[in-house]
Symmetry: C2
Amino acid sequence: MRVGILTIGNELTTGRIQDTNTAYLAGELASRTYEVSASMAVGDSQSAIKGGLDFLLPLSNAVIVTGGLGPTADDITTECIAKAFGLKLYLDEKALQVIKDRFERFKIRWSDNNAKQATFPKGAQPIPNPVGTAWGYALKRNRKIIIVVPGVPREVRKIFPEGVLPILEKASGRKKVVVLTKTVKLFGLAEALVDDALSDVVYDRKTLSIGFYPRFPENHIVLTARDTERKRAQKNLDDVRKKIEERLRKYIFGYDNDTLEGIVGALLTERKLTLAVAESLTGGLITDRITNVPGSSQYFERGVVSYSNRSKTDLLDVPEHTLEEFGSVSETTATLMAEGVRRMAKTDLGLSTTGIACPTGGTERKPVGTVFIAVTDGRRRVCRDFQFRWDRRRIKEITSQWALEMLRQFILGLE
Amino acid sequence: MRVGILTIGNELTTGRIQDTNTAYLAGELASRTYEVSASMAVGDSQSAIKGGLDFLLPLSNAVIVTGGLGPTADDITTECIAKAFGLKLYLDEKALQVIKDRFERFKIRWSDNNAKQATFPKGAQPIPNPVGTAWGYALKRNRKIIIVVPGVPREVRKIFPEGVLPILEKASGRKKVVVLTKTVKLFGLAEALVDDALSDVVYDRKTLSIGFYPRFPENHIVLTARDTERKRAQKNLDDVRKKIEERLRKYIFGYDNDTLEGIVGALLTERKLTLAVAESLTGGLITDRITNVPGSSQYFERGVVSYSNRSKTDLLDVPEHTLEEFGSVSETTATLMAEGVRRMAKTDLGLSTTGIACPTGGTERKPVGTVFIAVTDGRRRVCRDFQFRWDRRRIKEITSQWALEMLRQFILGLE
């Protein structure tokens, strides 16, 4: 079943409000195997609304329309739809009473323009609004369904599952299809090379799709399997996932809702390891990410943002002469920072970053984007240097990602 | 001049990605008095892309198409557009070289599928991409302009003003209108109260518009003045800005591209003050924000993320008995943390946060969302307590915002 989405409102065509309804509806529909034919946003005008319907209806079995159902003069959706199909309007007394009761319950003064919210094209089936005053409705014309709901995102999120979905499900009447998805999350391999690696994966395009989504600094591969039988869908999904893992295992750090900091946190918890972090370049971004994970206080002991040389000496025990001889951005300093923070915090692991992100801080030998990351457990120590080419913020982001990835590899003994 | 927007990608019609390009483009176009005829999102399919163009072109003088220009097999926009207009494709050697150079400069391995990003329909005018590898292009057919750009939001935000707008401006050939905008940034007043405060501001709606954009945890007011004369537009803008300042001065921390961390950084620089930060709850988010500002090493000495009690004692000199008596989340501890980090770092100012963001960490007396923020210069000390009601991440975000705001007020003597 193909569903079109039409969002209405000048606030959308002027960019004043970011439309979130389309993405919400498209996601909900796709996860239930409805195909979204197209989505459109048009302004509050009769011709634009009619034009939108004229375009979407031939492509779709149903069209969901959001917005323009409020009480004010620029809310013209219902009027336009009635006109487009040559229908008269009627006031639904039952809906009107529910809306009036709502006003009373919330002690809002009633004004007569609110009756508009209980007015529908003749033949429409009203859809109650449990969280607002503008009701929606569904209309069948020429074997197509037009479903109209208010545009307030919060109301859409309530009316869609409760009022809209049952109508679509009844109308589609098809055999139930199971949809399973799996997101594979990678880091450390360029987008085009991920694509290359996937190019010879053989799979049935009718029952499975592979989507590729770069999410700086990560790359996400999304597998979606559809089948009338859950077991077959699951097997299909697992088979393709394994093929991808064979090709890209080294770069896969997690699945679905995993975050790199969450994966690292789970590893630390599982192995009962504790961690301390010394950041210069990343300025706290690594520990910010680490502490986004609930329960991180179990393994994360402390972080030090040693921006000044003195703080590197005070808090990390990096000797002054090292800073003088090698500079604060050097392999020696990075390694001593990781060792120092580990020793002073008495943790199992120490992690550090140092580098140059400032437009003016670079030199010929150490240009902007020079980064050192070190990790140690007191016996083994790993230090890598990088040369990044982004702006200050992106250099911080990719450095924090590499630091967490190096820590993951260190714990797993992969490096 | 009427402009249509067509965004392409299965990730949009399946709701996997929230489309932000449409709102950006619509806002930019509207602020320059172009009318957006309609916007649409379609999947990566020949018929959907052709359908979208067939719908938008009759309504519009120009259509901006975004997405589907990458190197991978599901990037089919250019192929579809060429087919739709019966045009052949050609490889632009100049663009190819620029893209290859970019790969080399960033040390990314070249693979031949990237040549697709320098392939255009015959007759198209290539539009360089200064921040990515997929070039855009413009095509004139039947007195309409089709402008195609990549879908990466960051690239759209660069290519639109530099490559797209000049083409639209040349084509529209209308009397030049000066458009001036001013964004006023507020923090600390609820959305509805900002709206209330603005309700009696009198202004000419024909030449000025006021937009209101909640950007958690900030609120932004955007003034846009349009006039054939720059001087008049500027005066109009200034007059309304002053009216807003009269009503909301207390909550305004900056304008346009200002960030709160940038404003605080400028204040510290100007007054030659240095800063050290001790974070518990915020886990490094405050110093991450502070160090996003180029030049922050001039005033930011160190940060300490004292997640464990021992680190509070070691690095901040908070006595163990204080932690036992008052708890790590208390006014006393917050104040001692700010004083301790300041003393140990020998800076002018000390800032601290402590609180409970963990779903399981709350108690009846100190529920989840309890936060203390302290700031001191060694003589004055200010500590405020808060009770926030969001999730872990939002509690961290609003706490970092309040911490920076309290620091700003402290420096300015406003508290």
